[in-house]
C-alpha cells in the first residue's frame, strides 16, 4: 500500500488507506431502506465520499393512469402513492378537484376531514419512529408505536372499512356519516396518547447512545433546505418556521390553535424532536376539533358526473412527509387532461446526498430513516 501522500500526488483523491475507494451497493433489497431504494455509496474506508440514489423500482405510472380515468375513479389510486399516509393523499386530491370545480365541502365534512388527516399524521409519524429506532438498534420502540398505530387504524376501519388505503373522502365532501361512538373513540385515543408519547420520550430523548447516534448526523442548513425544495418536518428541523396548515389554511385548520415546532441545527436529532412535537400538536388539534363537530350535510351538491370548466389549478396540503401538491389541468371532459403530483418524499430524498456526504456508513442508515421516505410516493 504505497502511501499516495508521500509520493507527492497532488490529486484530490488522497485517501486514508491509500487504496482506491470501495463502491458499496445498498439495496434495493435492504433491511433499512424503507422499501425498494438502491443507494450506491462510494466509500473511503468508513467515510462516505459520494452517494447516488437509484429509484424507480416501484414506478407504476400513476400520472398516466390519471389521464384515462374519471376524477372519481382516480381517487383510490392516490391512496396507493404514499400508502403510509393514504388519508392525507385523499384530502389533497379531493380539495384540488373541488377547487377546480369551484365547489366547497360543507363545514361538517371539513371538520371530520381535519380530524382524520391529523390522526393519519400521527399514524405516519408513529411508523416512522418505530422503523427509524429499529434501524439505529433500539428494538423496543417499534412495538410501542405499532400498538398506538393499531388504535388509529381501528378508527379508520370503523369509519370507512379500510385500514391502510382508506379512500375515505369523496370529491365534494364525505361518503359516510361518522359512526356513533366516533367522537368517544377519538377522544379516548387522544387522552391515552398524551402519556404514551412521554413513554417514547423517556426511552429515547435523553438516551445517551440515541443522542450519540443522531446528534450532528446528516446536518442540513436552512439555506440548503430551501434551495433543495425540501419541505415538511425536514425543513422545520433546519430552522424554517413554515407550515402550509398555517401559511395557506385548508379544510378546517384556520379555526384551531396549534403551533409549529422548529429546531435550529437540522440534524437527525432535531428532526426526531420536531416530529415528536408534531404528534403532540396533531393530538391537540384532534381534541379541539372533536369538541364541536358542526351538524349538517356531509356532501356538497357537485352532481354525479363531474365536468370541471377547462383550466388548471395547483393545490397543496401539509402531508406528514412535506408539501403534497396536485397540479390538475382540465379540458372540460369527465377525465383530467393532466394530473401532476408534487411528491414530498421524492424531493426530500434529493437532499440525501448533501446529508450523507462525509458521514460514516452506519450514519447512512440513520439518514435514510430521518428523511422518512415512502418509495410508493418517490416512484409514483
Amino acid at each position: 500500500m504505497t502511501d499516495t501522500r508521500t509520493s507527492g500526488l497532488s490529486n484530490v483523491e488522497t485517501t486514508v488507506l491509500g487504496a482506491d475507494e470501495i463502491i458499496l451497493n445498498m439495496g434495493p433489497q435492504h433491511p433499512s431502506t424503507h422499501g425498494v431504494l438502491r443507494v450506491k455509496l462510494k466509500l473511503d474506508g468508513e467515510r462516505v465520499v459520494d452517494s447516488e440514489c437509484i429509484i424507480g423500482y416501484l414506478h407504476r405510472g400513476v400520472e398516466k393512469i390519471a389521464e384515462h380515468r374519471s376524477y372519481q375513479q382516480f381517487a383510490p389510486y392516490v391512496d396507493r402513492m404514499d400508502y403510509v399516509a393514504a388519508v392525507s393523499n385523499g384530502l389533497g386530491y379531493c380539495e384540488a378537484v373541488e377547487k377546480l370545480l369551484g365547489a366547497e365541502a360543507p363545514p361538517r365534512a371539513r371538520v371530520v376531514r381535519t380530524i382524520l388527516t391529523e390522526l393519519q399524521r400521527i399514524a405516519s409519524h408513529l411508523l416512522w419512529l418505530g422503523t427509524h429506532a429499529l434501524d439505529i438498534g433500539a428494538l423496543t420502540p417499534v412495538f410501542y408505536c405499532f400498538r398506538e398505530r393499531e388504535e388509529i387504524l381501528k378508527i379508520f376501519e370503523k369509519y370507512c372499512g379500510a385500514r391502510l388505503t382508506t379512500h375515505a373522502f369523496r370529491i365534494g365532501g364525505l361518503q359516510y356519516e361518522t359512526y356513533d361512538g366516533f367522537e368517544s373513540d377519538v377522544k379516548r385515543f387522544c387522552e391515552d396518547f398524551t402519556h404514551r408519547i412521554d413513554e417514547y420520550e423517556t426511552l429515547l430523548t435523553e438516551n445517551r447512545i440515541w443522542v450519540g447516534r443522531t446528534k450532528g448526523v446528516g446536518i442540513l442548513s436552512a439555506a440548503d433546505a430551501i434551495a433543495l425544495g425540501v419541505t415538511g418536518p425536514v425543513l422545520r428541523a433546519s430552522g424554517v418556521k413554515w407550515d402550509l396548515r398555517k401559511a395557506m389554511p385548508y379544510a378546517a385548520y384556520a379555526d384551531y390553535q396549534f403551533d409549529i415546532p422548529t429546531r435550529p441545527t437540522g440534524d437527525t436529532y432535531d428532526r426526531y424532536i420536531v416530529r415528536m412535537e408534531e404528534m403532540r400538536q396533531s393530538q391537540r388539534i384532534c381534541l379541539q376539533a372533536i369538541e364541536n363537530i358542526p351538524a349538517g350535510a356531509i356532501m356538497a351538491k357537485v352532481g354525479k358526473v363531474l365536468k370541471p370548466p377547462p383550466g388548471e389549478v395547483y393545490h397543496s396540503i401539509e402531508a406528514p412527509k412535506g408539501e403534497l401538491g396536485y397540479y390538475i389541468v382540465s379540458d372540460g371532459t369527465t377525465q383530467a387532461y393532466r394530473v401532476r403530483v408534487r411528491p414530498p418524499s421524492f424531493i426530500n430524498l434529493q437532499a440525501f446526498d448533501r446529508m450523507a456526504r462525509g458521514s460514516l456508513v452506519a450514519d447512512v442508515v440513520a439518514i435514510i430513516g430521518t428523511i422518512d421516505i415512502v418509495l410508493g410516493e418517490v416512484d409514483r
Binding site: 405510472g61 398516466k64 433543495l228 383550466g311 408534487r342 421524492f346
Partner: protein, 168 residues
C-alpha cells in the same frame, strides 16, 4: 371562471424588465400564471428568486398538447416565504427544442428536470447529468406523451423477453 387577464405591479415590473419575453399574465381560479418565452426562462427565474423573493421552487413539470405547434408547456411553480404567494411560470416549447435548465438557480430542479426528460423527452440544456430517473436506462419512448401507446410497448416487451404473444 374562465382565465381572466392579470395586471398587478409584479407583472408590471416583469414587463418593464423583460419586455416582450413576458407573453401574457392570467388569473385562473385566483392563481397567477405568467406565460414567458422559453429561451429566457433562466434569467426570469433568477430575477424572481433574487428580486421578487420567490425563493422556493415548488414544482417543475410539463403538459403535452400534441395538436399545438409548440406542443409542450413547461410549468415552473414558485413560492415566496415572505409574501406567502405562489406564481406559475409557463413556457410553450416545440418538440426537440431546448429549454435552459434551472439547476444553477435552484438545486431542487435537478431531479425534477430529469423526471421531465424521462417522461416527456424535454431536453434541459445545461443540466449536470440528464438521464432517466424513474424508468430503466434502455427504455425507449417517453410515457407521459399523449401519443405514447402503452399497449405497443407492452407487447414488444413481452415478445422480446418472454417469447410469447401478449394477449392484450
Amino acid at each position: 371562471m374562465a382565465p381572466v387577464p392579470l395586471d398587478n405591479e409584479f407583472v408590471e415590473r416583469l414587463k418593464v424588465k423583460f419586455g416582450n419575453a413576458i407573453r401574457e399574465a392570467t388569473l385562473d381560479r385566483k392563481q397567477a400564471i405568467v406565460n414567458v418565452e422559453a429561451m429566457r426562462l433562466r434569467e426570469i427565474s433568477r430575477y424572481c428568486r433574487d428580486e421578487e423573493k420567490f425563493d422556493m421552487l415548488v414544482d417543475l413539470t410539463a403538459v403535452d398538447w400534441p395538436n399545438r405547434e409548440k406542443r409542450f408547456d413547461v410549468i415552473v411553480i414558485l413560492y415566496s416565504f415572505q409574501k406567502n404567494e405562489r406564481v406559475r411560470l409557463k413556457t410553450h416549447l416545440g418538440d426537440g427544442e431546448l429549454v435552459p435548465s434551472l439547476c444553477e438557480v435552484w438545486p431542487a430542479a435537478n431531479w425534477l428536470e430529469r423526471e421531465c426528460f424521462d417522461m416527456f423527452g424535454i431536453v434541459f440544456e445545461g443540466h449536470p447529468n440528464l438521464k432517466r430517473i424513474l424508468l430503466p436506462e434502455e427504455w425507449e419512448g417517453h410515457p407521459l406523451r399523449k401519443d405514447y401507446d402503452i399497449l405497443k410497448q407492452d407487447t414488444a416487451w413481452v415478445r422480446e423477453n418472454l417469447g410469447i404473444e401478449s394477449g392484450q
